[in-house]
Amino acid sequence: MDVELRGITKRFGPVVANDNVNLVIRGGEVLGLLGENGAGKSTMMNMLSGLYTPDEGEILIDGKPVKFDGPGDGIEAGIGMVHQHFMLVPVFTVAENVVLGVEPTGRLGHLDLKKARAQVEEINQKYGLHVPADALIENLPVGIQQRVEILKVLFREADVLILDEPTAVLTPQEVEEFFGIVNGLKEAGKAIVFITHKLHEILAISDRISVLRQGRITGEGDPKTLDEEKLAEMMVGRHVSFTVDKTPAQPGSEMLRLEKVTLLDDKDDRLIDDVSFTVRSGEIVGIAGVQGNGQTELVEVITGLARGNAGRITFAGDDITHTSVRDRHRRGMAHIPEDRHRMGMVDKFTIAENMVLNSYYDEAYAAPLGSIDWNRVNETAAAFCVDFDVRTPSVFLPGGSLSGGNQQKMVVARELERQTQLVVASQPTRGVDVGSIEYIHKRLVESRDEGDGVLIVSSELDEIMGLSDRILVMFEGRIVAEFDNTGGKADRNQVGLAMAGATEGEAA
């Protein structure tokens, strides 16, 4: 089945997400769609799946124009989408998730789950997906959840599969395995659209590549004639280097030490299991791992948002195991949280208010009777914005009105403009454009060079490899491996194996 997009334009208010886009998708072929965050990739694909309706232009299937009005229409026409954020009901079983919307039923609308299970098994067999039909989604690892998403689409007999950033949650080895599944689907005659911002992956899997920038197709080509450098230039619009400029680390005194830290959830499962490590001043320690292996909780325990059930944490020599978030903040611990919308900012607060979100009580802003000196706050916020290149006409606009990259720079500015000793940065560049990524990386390295200890947690292995002086790998709540990355000498493959749970001995 072939699908063609002709002159598609989509606007959200004043923002043009897609501008006159033309694209052809053919059966038995993998089309790589490359673009940085916010380039309009997801918008385009959501129009193919029927979730959005284009403002202008048309979609043709096998030469015939079609019109999608609702989210069910795309899949009905044979276009299935595997979303970046999984569309799975966590408390349902695999079979229930797969049949939702096209349920096999008996009399009185009775749900025939037996039949559903059999159907799931059949597809499992055909494409070698190996998904347990009766398991609850919430008990499955993300890699398997992703296969459930593919299963869902295949169950609906889709001929076109759109995979939106499918490798974000996989280890390098799982990516290889995943590519095997994709090639199997291609050989079965399916058309695949592979959306990503990772250059090496798109070169490895695609038969054809289209590049999207600021809502427009800015380049097309054959992966055989392209290389990463050319692709990057098409994607960003200028020459970019993805290597972070930094000198070898000069580690000094110990800044942070964790000793046998353990955290249990309310079912007594170990979210963090007996973790010990140190971060010294003047070095960047990166924690690699597939998301959901305890990194979020580790950051919460370090920053004081969660209390460990056992173990000890020291900061610059002082025991902080039982101290509050604010105490740690006062001592000079900066925290860039993993999800700025959930934690890092208040969307409706002004940029100025956001800039003092966790330092509003500071003496520098104090006015009589427990008031805040707002003039002082506003001036400081303006200075921070200038310093960190946060692009806004005024500090009195709501933080939520900024673009993703500027929001993140606002959060980073707030955390790094103080005098700090330790920077804990969790997913510091998630959902941010390339320009902002470069800038944030540069500032993190500067913090290190000024003598801070820097701890970076990221599920982007490239980010960890590029920034860290030392790499720790987290798997199922434990630190399973440590690598020296001076001069980038850690072996990417070995790190990947450790992310999948291979212990140090096996990895080596």
Partner: protein
Amino acid sequence: MSTSIGKRELDDAGRALLQRASGGRGQFEDLVIVPIFAVIAALVLGALVMLATGVDIGTIGKSFVALGKGSVGSLNAISETLTSAIPLILAGLGLGLGFRAGLFNIGAEGQIVMGGLAAAIFAFSFPGLPAILLIPLSLLAGAIAGAIYAGFAGVLKATTGAHEVITTIMLNLSSFLILIWALKQPYVQVAGRSDPISKSVPEAGQLPRLLDWIDPNLRVHAGLFVMLIMVAFIWWLLFRSKIGFAFRASGENPDAARYAGMKSGLIIVAAMGTAGALAGLGGASQVLGVLERASPGFSAGIGFDAIALALLGRSHPVGILLAGLLFGGLEAGGRQMQVDAGVSIDLIGIIQALIIVFIAAPLLVRAIFPWGFRKDKEGGAA
């Protein structure tokens, strides 16, 4: 080691960022046009309800005239409007503060009951104190009682996550029973009475009437000043103080507040306590300024009307003040309406509920009244 935020010298680029953007048309529509249309629509629907229950057109006209006359038509009407507005605004301020902190406190009614009861008991327990001490102390007793009663719901929410909507409603229902029980206790009950009713507040404990030198029937009392001071105080608390910043942050994004080191449990209890204190103050001022004793049902639904008030006033102290004057007027006018046109004052309850519907669903108002709003929806929202 502490954070140090050095004084910054701003360059031109920095100073440019300090330009305040004007509120814009969208804000004007939200703050002015929507409430006006909401009130009009509610009054029209109120007329339809009267029509449906067999009230003839002439009487409906008469009721609206009475509504106007009873609220602003004379010095007495204005005095009545202000008198009704005092406890409404005090309770409404508390609810608005709660909304800002993300707490949907339905419990003002129970907090008013507790505040009024405590104020009455305190006042008749110390009849010997001079007015200058007895009035503030009785008000304080009411505020503390309200704060403690609301504090229960706050503590439950902070420690167990119990939703404040249900706990405060249960506390409301309990408060009525507690009131009746308390009013039957020998220490509280008037000697020689068998029905539950408290002893009277002594002269020195009563909030002085402000205009009785013109006409002894003008009931507006010194609670008016208490109310105005509280409007200013809550404005300062919410928008100028550190604790208010924490309240607002917790209300908008509790996770971000936690991240910023604000203690969510403490904030919940503090916000509920403050809200309860204000409602308690409302109950106290009603008992000390108007009723002069506590009796069953003295809260008269003020706490529920205050919910409407806080929503109508967008949880902003000044908005609540204006909304309170409107509701006070409806209340005073409604009484006139019952007398002049024989239409039950319960109609006012319907009108108030309708006002909140329209306020809380601006999309609905825009759908009914297409005029007065900019056509470009997306531009208006931005």
